[in-house]
């Protein structure tokens, strides 16, 4: 795959390294000559000096044949424009933008950016996951399918403790994938599986029914 990365900062640099290791053809676009020089010295000629928001620069590096463009500069507006230029001028099939402000996610989607990634949201989720009393966390978001994978914890107060899976009324489009008990190994839920306090349930649902699923599973 030919992947173009916009921005050679810390994130861009490690992304470049990881993608090269996976055997992809990768090119970083970076405005700063010094950063460009460092990357070139270290990793070879995989850095092109230029503005990733300029259609001419993108044309020069063959964006027309790129499979993916990932914009990871520190500024949301630059990431947005780089993705839009790639999409509309060079027909790049998949564009990914890093977000500094999580609120921009909806706007970026509306404007045609395929995937947005907010470090702030990811860190928040990771911290929430570490809080023992936190009832539900989103593990993964499958944006194209409009699905999320969530982790719901059954606490001793849950009214569903002792109930079998078939007795639960789950919101439409939700499926239980896995039950991880406090002790013992994980198992796929069967209709007769009884919920216990301390169970961790991995389930697939839609972003809209996330709360409803959590309520159904915890019965609170």
């Amino acid at each position: 795959m030919y992947i173009i990365v916009i921005g050679g900062g810390r994130l861009g640099y490690y992304l470049l390294k990881a993608l090269l290791n996976e055997g992809h053809e990768v090119l970083v676009l970076e405005k700063d000559a010094r950063i460009c020089k460092t990357i070139t010295e270290e990793l070879g000629s995989v850095c092109f000096r230029g503005d990733g928001c300029e259609a001419a620069t993108l044309a020069e590096v063959g964006t027309g044949r790129a499979d993916m463009l990932v914009a990871v500069t520190g500024d949301d507006e630059d990431n947005l424009v780089a993705c839009q230029v790639a999409k509309h001028k060079h027909n790049v099939p998949r564009t990914i933008a890093r977000l500094r402000n999580p609120q921009n996610a909806a706007l970026f989607k509306k404007l045609g950016v395929d995937v947005t990634i907010s470090a702030t949201d990811i860190i928040l989720e990771a911290i929430e996951r570490e809080v023992p009393t936190h009832p539900a966390t989103e593990l993964l978001s499958l944006e194209e399918k409009d699905l999320v994978i969530v982790d719901v914890k059954i606490s001793p107060e849950s009214t569903t403790v002792g109930k079998a899976v078939k007795e639960l009324t789950l919101p439409k489009g939700s499926k239980l994938a896995l039950i991880i008990p406090a002790e013992g190994s994980a198992r796929a839920p069967a209709p007769a599986t009884v919920l216990q306090a301390g169970d961790q349930i991995i389930a697939v649902t839609t972003p809209e029914t996330k709360e409803a699923l959590q309520a159904a599973l915890r019965g609170i």
């Binding site: 001419a56 507006e77 947005l80 609120q103 706007l107 509306k110």
Partner: protein, 146 residues
Amino acid sequence: MKIIIMGCGRVGARLASLLDEDGHEVIVLDNDTYSFRRLPASFGGTALYGNGIDEEALKKAGIEDADMFVALTQGDNRNVMACQICKHIFEVPRVMCRIYDPLREEMYSALGLETLSPTKIFAQLLREKVGESPEKKAPGKKGGKK
């Protein structure tokens, strides 16, 4: 009309004071309050500290019932993003965007933004000046017209 101007630089400040003189309700937004020194003492509108690519700041400026939004910061990308927020999220009836880079300007114009490229306009203006005969300056001398 209620008009919000983002960027209180030389152009932004001048436009703000002209529109204010014309009797419009003008709000100027800038993320550096020092820029507001450019507004004349007679300016009767509102100068507001805030970042125009932040939805909250735009709401504070009254974007929800604004008739027009003009983006005049130094950054093409900031202008483009702010204008797209105003057009697609707040559905402001008229949105104008300054984009220095002519290529980017063409693209966003094709995408439906009302765009202005000072680079293009000024270069064109100068080209026309070059084409004019310099009669007034040097009568009798050669040059000018080809």
